[in-house]
Assembly symmetry: C2
Homo-oligomer: 500 residues x 2
């Protein structure tokens, strides 16, 4: 039995820390959306200050002794208490190893690096960004050494985003996926049928895209009284807890799918955040499990739902009504076009089949960058070599190569693999949802996605961090994480589409 | 001679506190512009957290002993050091008297009250807002008692916004202004000429207003790389320091002056913030003097410049080009219309002559609210009685009466008088600028406001808090604050206009 006042005092403290993280999240969102250019340096100081405060409060003596007291008194009687104590202990143990100065330096350095990256990408000038990357790699290697690891330094970093994951294990799964993807990509390359993708470049006014995207997000269940959509260079979903979830997207009048699927993707993240239990806001029981699980939600709504034939059965007439330029395009042609598979430069625009290969490239480079076997100046060449090996193409410039993603400028090495894990989780969850909801396809075909959302809420969102990712998959699907549902999903979808 | 490392350590600490205030400012800006409705409660906790941190850091033992050390060692050799020590001492002495819990409670209570006020105003339902007001008055009376005062509790509150000002002294100045305004208003009421104000209700599309307002703000010198304009219910300028200054405005397709003069007003505040010395950012030497001085800058750009005949000499053709609905309106008619004088319900839409009377009403009610002689439930009636006495009109509802302003929901009692003081400062400063720049009128008539901005920067903005308001007026204009330049300005402008 846990002393009630010790637990209350503990919850008060971790909620305060979460409030600091909420502030940090807003500062980051604003930086990417509305912040005036010249405020970048002040913003770096603001983020460093609040990150330092959150860190100091987490590693405080009070949190340490409260954790000990709660653990001593058997915190595991109640699953809520047990979860909050267990996961806070994990965060505490990580944090207590990191000097506050290092945390603040990383926050400040990455805020400035992010601003420089945006300019460097615009001008495709890797050399402008390189010194920041050198600095961030050095700082993150220090983090890895402070945290400690069994396998390699990279494990200590990836653990922040996917608790418990090890690079060597991830490599095994990725190798299995790759072994299946490569022949599928080759078969598609030689397929007798090809989609006409030029239909996707037909003019769709930005205002219409914004209106349609919003309508879709709302129909999926995204609550605009507890969230919003804005524009940023790099789409993201920012938010902590269910009451303030902010998506971003970007528009191209001549490539409507970018904003549409971008919005569905970020709305998938947003639905997870909005589905967290408000009763437990600010504690691990009201927080997302891992980035891999988070990504499973975004990919599921973007791909399994949004790029599915059933979804467009219902939505295609509305899309045509919004964009007369698509009036003469049959649904089947549109559906084929949005599911085209081809080697491409940009990860966020990659199709479902090749997407994983983009991640595997980054995963490989990151492990070498962190271990020190790949020097920063050699990254552009290593990137291009990797692209040639995996896709048989070479980016025309670094903007479409190693500068395309924001992640390294944020110092978030170890983050990328969670995207590929998310694809695997998504396929496995969606297969389980199909078994649980036998009429799921008909529901989606009629524009009703509420039963699916309800199932995700009950089976995934509402648990918060009660289960870790590998346990959650077992609880929800009855099996360990496997590459098989993902590969089965791809084969079932793309083989008939391409007639192979 | 001050020990260099003590001063450096001191500056480091007060800059950190300023960083916390910058964060608080962004949280407030976001609440009024983009925050989803359901995030209000979380936002209150966020603001309370950061306000508490800023407060605790200010009243820390370290700041206390550094102040003592710097004072002991003769901080007044260097005006920069002297200013930073003197003004921090003033803030410290105020803050140290306030329990951190009270500061956090006020931050949280006012954040929630602000959200309720917005809804209450929309539905013109004072009873919804009243309990919040009771609570805030109680909290602010506690503040006044903790701070202490010579005259009345209200002094302790007003002192936060206009350091050194006393209610009784302000009353004397206000009485002098009122004695001059009343006959002027009466004369205008009986004047032989009246402007045709219906021309201002002609349709001006919102997109055109936004474009024109932005062009004007830019031409006045507002730097959009260090600031922005957004939309909010109640226009404001938010920002700390010169790199991130955020204005808001609101648009009415059928009343273009609202956004235009609102923007010029807030841009005036913004030009002050952007003119602060970047070298001293985060310290009193890089901070605004007082709200009265701040308001002098906004009123000067809005009124002395923006409602002046010279300004429109240059800008009217551009306005007509933007809004064809004004094509047949002669400049003189437009100029007369934007300078109409008449009793009105809404302070922020009041003309230059009657504006001060709106403030005097609020000043009077606030003093009675704080002293306890006016109960919250009696405010609507007292408001309406005051309106009848001052203007001979009664608001049709509380939305256009005592609910119109955001200030009480923020607990900022003592803030309103700074608006009227700002008008007096503005007139006195503008008269001084005219003396210093003999061709000022011709410059403005040619669309060149840069010399005026330059003069304001050198004479006011760059000093930061080197002088307190009453000293600054003397340094800049050679005389004490007086109602005379303001009354002279009004007479010179409005008597010929109305033919009286």
């Amino acid at each position: 039995m846990v002393a009630q006042n010790a637990y209350e005092s503990f919850v008060g403290r971790i909620k305060d820390i979460d409030t600091a993280h909420q502030i940090e999240s807003l500062l980051g969102w604003d930086q990417e959306t509305y912040m005036p250019r010249r405020a970048a340096k002040d913003r770096a100081n603001q983020i460093a200050l609040i990150a330092g405060i959150a860190h100091e409060r987490l590693i405080s003596e009070e949190v340490g002794s409260l954790l000990e007291e709660l653990e001593r008194n058997g915190a595991d009687d109640d699953p809520v208490v047990a979860t909050n104590v267990r996961e806070t202990r994990w965060r505490y143990d990580r944090a207590v190893k990191l000097p506050t100065d290092l945390v603040k330096t990383i926050a400040r350095t990455s805020t400035l690096a992010k601003a420089t990256w945006a300019g460097a990408r615009k001008e495709s000038d890797f050399s402008r960004f390189a010194p920041h990357l050198v600095e961030l790699l050095d700082l993150k290697r220090q983090v890895a050494e402070h945290i400690g690891y069994d396998g390699e330094p990279y494990d200590a970093l990836m653990d922040e985003y996917e608790p418990g994951a090890q690079a060597a294990d991830v490599q095994v799964v990725f190798d299995r996926v790759k072994a299946e993807l490569v022949p599928l990509v080759a078969a598609i390359k030689d397929a007798p049928r090809r989609p006409d993708t030029t239909i996707l470049t037909r003019t769709c006014p930005v205002a219409g895209q914004a209106a349609f995207d919003r309508r879709v997000a709302e129909a999926l269940g995204f609550d605009f009284e507890a969230g919003r959509i804005d524009v940023s260079t790099h789409p993201f979903c920012s938010g902590r807890g269910p009451h303030d979830v902010r998506l971003t997207t970007r528009y191209d009048e001549h490539y409507m799918p970018m904003s549409l699927f971008g919005t569905m993707h970020e709305a998938g993240h947003g639905l997870y955040e909005q589905g967290l239990d408000p009763e437990h806001i600010g504690t691990p029981m009201g927080d997302a499990v891992s980035l891999g699980i988070h990504e499973s939600q975004s990919r599921l709504w973007e791909n399994q739902v949004g790029r599915g034939r059933m979804f467009w059965n219902h939505y295609y007439p509305a899309l045509q009504a919004e964009f007369p330029s698509l009036a003469d395009v049959p649904l089947d042609d549109f559906y084929f076009a949005i599911n085209t598979v081809r080697p491409s430069f940009i990860r966020v625009e990659a199709d479902e089949v090749t997407y994983g290969l983009h991640i595997m490239l980054r995963f490989d480079l990151e492990r070498r960058m962190i271990s020190g076997t790949l020097a920063v100046n050699d990254i552009p060449e290593a990137w291009n070599t990797g692209m040639q090996e995996l896709f048989g193409i070479t980016p025309p410039d670094d903007a479409r190569g190693c500068l395309q993603d924001i992640h390294w400028s944020m110092g978030t090495f170890g983050y990328f693999p969670t995207y590929a894990l998310g694809n695997l989780y998504a396929a496995q969850f969606f297969a389980a949802a199909r078994r649980a909801l036998p009429d799921l396809d008909q529901q989606i075909a009629a524009g009703r996605t509420a039963p699916l959302l309800q199932w995700l809420r009950e089976n995934i969102h509402r648990h918060g961090q009660r289960y870790r990712a590998h346990e959650l998959v077992k609880v929800v699907t009855g099996a360990e994480l496997s590459h098989e549902p993902f590969i089965a999903y791809l084969n079932a979808k793309f083989r008939p589409l391409y007639g192979i």
